[in-house]
């Protein structure tokens, strides 16, 4: 039985008064320390390659005349998916062009492409390593969880502190935010390859490398492609947010429109983003379904 005289005391007692953890101060100190120590290193070794790739991609995309660009998209979408997707893609991009946001569209596409290229360059090898070591995956999983659940805005502050403002810090925040699906689904795809097939590979004397490239990666390809598809979608959403710290493109249209209460400008930017997202999604999904031996034809 509860002693009635004790209850009020217990209720009145607030355990949170006893200890006050100065988390804000600690994190500020930590970020300050990281910035002080690594800022020069990051700016010297991380910014240049990211900037170089982004500028090259942007140069390539913007030097293609719009009509040729539409034709190329049509061909790519037909090859990767179907003529329906090809037709849809061309119409969607034509709408973007007629709304007079072609140039920001090209900028956003370049940012997304760059972010995805780096996410894959880093994410695919990490995913492959994770599929071979349970220990590594156990260590990396919480990091991936943090990367994905942290609100995108929170990345922007340290990104600005380390890299300043502009496209590059926006891209780096995007890469960190968008990479986890590639790692997760590469790992998952390889682990899902049927044990029977792996056993057959071993029984015929495959080396671990032959096993990876001749059996595991080809069979994991649809899953890996699903990861890349997610990464593209995430980087598109992040690239828009990155407009706050000075990244250009369609995100900037939205951001600028909101700041000036120009609803029309914001919506045009928003529609452009949605159309771009749909086109990229359909094309990459089509790629994933085209793995050999899984054709629906019979």
């Amino acid at each position: 039985m509860i002693d009635p005289t004790v209850v009020p005391v217990a209720v009145a007692f607030n355990p949170f008064d006893v200890l006050d953890v100065p988390a804000r101060e600690w994190i500020t100190l930590l970020v300050d320390w990281i910035v002080a120590v690594f800022r020069d290193f990051f700016r010297a070794y991380i910014s240049p390659p990211v900037r170089a790739v982004m500028e090259a991609v942007h140069w390539a995309f913007s030097s293609i005349p719009p009509l040729l660009f539409l034709a190329l998209v049509f061909a790519l979408a037909w090859w990767a998916a179907s003529w329906r997707v090809a037709l849809f893609s061309v119409i969607a991009l034509a709408v973007v062009g007629f709304m007079d946001v072609w140039s920001p569209f090209i900028t956003t596409l370049s940012l997304v492409t760059t972010a995805v290229v780096f996410s894959m360059l880093i994410g695919l090898p990490i995913g492959i390593l994770c599929s071979r070591s349970d220990t590594l995956y156990t260590l990396i999983r919480p990091v991936l969880d943090i990367m994905q659940t942290t609100p995108p805005f929170v990345y922007l502050v340290p990104a600005v502190m380390l890299f300043g403002i502009g496209n590059v810090p926006g891209l780096i925040a995007t890469i960190i935010f968008a990479m986890p699906p590639v790692i997760r689904l590469t790992n998952l795809g390889i682990r899902q390859v049927s044990e029977d097939l792996v056993e057959a590979g071993i029984a015929f004397g495959s080396t671990p490398r032959q096993m990876l490239w001749k059996i595991q990666v080809p069979l994991a390809l649809p899953t890996i492609m699903a990861g890349i598809n997610q990464t593209i979608m995430l980087s598109l959403s992040m690239v828009v947010i990155a407009a706050i710290i000075g990244a250009g493109g369609l995100g900037l249209e939205v951001y600028a429109g909101l700041e000036r209460l120009n609803i029309g400008q914001a919506f045009v930017g928003g529609i452009g983003i949605v159309l771009l997202a749909m086109v990229l999604d359909r094309i990459t999904q089509g790629l994933g379904e085209h793995a050999p031996g899984r054709r629906k034809s019979k």
Binding site: E199, A200, A203, F204, S206, L219, G293, R294
Partner: protein
Amino acid sequence: MIRVENVTKVFGANPQSVLPLLEQGKTKTEIQSETGHVVGVKDASFKVEAGQVFAIMGLSGSGKSTLIRCLNRLVEPTSGKIFFEDPEKGELDVTAMNVEDLRMLRRHQMSMVFQHFALFPHRTVLSNTVYGLEIQGRDKQEREEIGLKMLGMVGLGEWAEAYPSELSGGMQQRVGLARGLATEAKLLLMDEPFSALDPLIRVQMQDELKKIQAELERTILFITHDLDEAMFIGNKIAIMEAGEIIQIGTPEEILVNPRTEYVARFVEQADPTGVITAGTIAIPFRGTAFEQVREAGELKYLARQAYPEIEYGLDRDGRLREVVSAERSLTVEPLESVLEGRSHTSHERRRDDTLLTCTNRTVLRKLLQGRTYSTLPIVVTDEDGCAEGIVDEMELIGAILEKRGVSEEEAEAGIEAPRGRSSTA
């Protein structure tokens, strides 16, 4: 070709700790409840000669799949030794090999066919077939040549560019077989290759495997849970129960002389007509069932006490020279020549003036077919043509119903027990 000595496999956290318990004679169940370890294979020893088809028969959970995987170390044996006779390098200790040697052994000497085919779905039929050659590093033209030859052999030459998902189960396993044969490995490990197939397709595949084996003369280790399949395909059979090999012998030895109650239960269901041979069931002339009724010149005439009307005239070497029934001489013809081109559902009256002869390796099915031609007993001869004994209706019926040879007393009375003669081990 391969020699397995006292191989034991225990699954669990600390397999070595269980070995002394096994030596004390504890059973699989006791060990499992006491230590949580599962004994997969217990003290298995056998030898497979080059060119032989060695079948391992057992129910699921008897450890047969674990045992076959110990041979190429897909499963690491807990104790025991495995020796492989390499045609060039002599005898190799598989259990002592390092990773690289083991990989070379798997690439060049041992290949495998799997129960659920394990074809690579992203590769075409041809590309699946040549996987082993690709791993060996052969150039593309050479491996495709070999691959197409193998596909032709299994009857899938037309399907080289198809994907496995487009094939039926039977066709998929043909690809599995072609892939196993393509590496030119001397030893082919087949883990229940036909178990997942429809009965009709299974029988067809068994026939084809026999044909291919006759042509290629590989050494095959064949796992199955079907005794009829084991007896049809195997030159020798090992029967497994609860991780142990409980009997090894030729199909006929096992059928006629099951060593344990467990084996006997299986044998009961088996079809003896393709396994039991004339030599095993014949009533021997030298046994007590026959006595000499008269002598004429070179020939001694023998007759059965129960059926004195037929007299068998043997010369000094034991060759059958004359058969006399009711004072007239009967025609003697070899069984093989009579069966040629004859349908055993013929409506002609059965002959009572022709006596058939056959060798002691003739199987029961052939004897039965012979009896549709003639009503008289069949005389069984050895390889040299000397008469061993006769097979009459009762022996045929006994062989089908009891799967036994002549009764124990008769066998002991015979100077050479027919059962001993039938074994070629």
